[in-house]
């Protein structure tokens, strides 16, 4: 398997994840509509759609908020910013991702964003202290590869959709637990709980593994997409 094929597979996988979750959502809403009430099913679908759009639009900021990643002032950390520029040029990205710093002693780095043009790379202060320039360059190249391969896109989508379905399942489960009691509703509750539990665990892990494989393959020899 060449790097090119791996990237292509990754993109295909992104589409499958997105379509799969949309399908799952439709099935769930359909079930709710059939078993309980059509308007409830429609309401769940609309709510899920709004929530998903909001989460996708806000994902960039949310990740930044959770990690406490701070944008770097203009004149600061020039050597690091230059390293990031160089690996981005080497990867053929149209623009250099923004650089953000996390005040944390543990050495770590991450990439976030839906498109290469609006992505950023976060680096902890612990990593800056722990690594010499060349090793830091390798880490940055790895994160930039995540952005170029659209791994960040895949992960954002997977996380948002898993979150939406888990939330819907939770709401449904509680509504049924405290609301009307009949056998059909009980069966639906079981299905909801199961469906809510499954995507919450498996796909996120499989995505992480698959995408990490691609990114670590494409570390330094920056190849174009084809």
């Amino acid at each position: 398997v060449t790097l090119q094929q791996q990237i292509r597979r990754n993109r295909l996988r992104s589409s499958i994840v997105v379509l799969g979750f949309v399908f799952l959502l439709l099935v769930l809403a359909g079930l709710v509509g059939l078993v309980l009430d059509v308007s409830l099913g429609v309401a769940a679908l609309v709510f899920a759609a709004i929530y998903a759009v909001f989460a996708i639009v806000r994902a960039r900021g949310l990740i930044s908020g959770i990690t406490h990643a701070q944008p770097v002032g203009h004149g600061e950390l020039r050597p690091l910013r230059r390293l990031l520029e160089n690996v981005s040029i080497g990867a053929g990205l149209p623009v250099t991702p923004e650089l953000r710093i996390v005040e944390d002693d543990s050495p770590n780095a991450f990439a976030a964003g839906l498109r290469p043009t609006s992505s950023y790379v976060g680096v902890t202060t612990g990593l800056l202290r722990a690594m010499p320039k060349r090793e830091l360059e390798a880490v940055l190249a790895h994160e930039v590869a995540h952005i170029r391969n659209r791994d960040t896109y895949l992960m954002t989508m997977a996380t948002v959709f898993a979150g939406v379905i888990a939330l819907l399942a939770d709401i449904g489960f509680r509504t049924l637990a405290y609301g009307g009691r009949n056998r059909r509703a009980g069966a639906l509750a079981a299905v909801l709980a199961l469906v809510g539990f499954v995507p919450h665990r498996t796909p996120r892990f499989s995505c992480a593994r698959a995408s990490r494989g691609a990114a670590s393959c494409s570390l330094t020899p920056a190849l174009p997409r084809s």
Binding site: E85, N86, V87, P221, A222, P224, R225, S226
Partner: protein, 186 residues
Amino acid sequence: VLWVWLLLGAAALLLVLAAFGYNRLVRLRNEADTGWANIDVQLQRRADLIPNLVEAVRGYAAHERAVFEEVTRARAALQQASSPGPAGAANDVLTEALGRLFAVAEAYPELQASENFLRLQEDLTDTEDKISAARRYYNSTVMHFNTAIQSIPWVLVARPLGFREKEFFSAAGDTAAPEVSFTRAT
């Protein structure tokens, strides 16, 4: 009647494949062109830094006229080179000339310590790093594009369709053996 349909189906399939293949060639060519534009930007930046650098050194070593002229000539040659092959050669000539300029500068500790000179030197090193990063990307896009148009079936029609092989952007450093030193740096 059946074979007519089969023939029509095969023709349609071939047409679809041809369209996809053609689009792929166009995409690969555009990627290579973008890659070259990336290098060109950095080469231009490198050329822009040089007058200031020459002025900085001239302030201390006005008599080293031959070196300044050599650097200025090499810079002009780089700015005139418009395609990857000549630009790569001109860039190498400039690198050599700059090496001599820095050798001259080494005789003047005051110059070496000046803020302006250090900044220029740092910018120049950064630009050189960026040129080599852009070169890595460009050469890989060229490799993919050339492989595509040299492979069957495109090798038969690439030229009439206006697809020409692209030049690699090579640097002298590529072929030189790495220097190995067994004395320990302190």
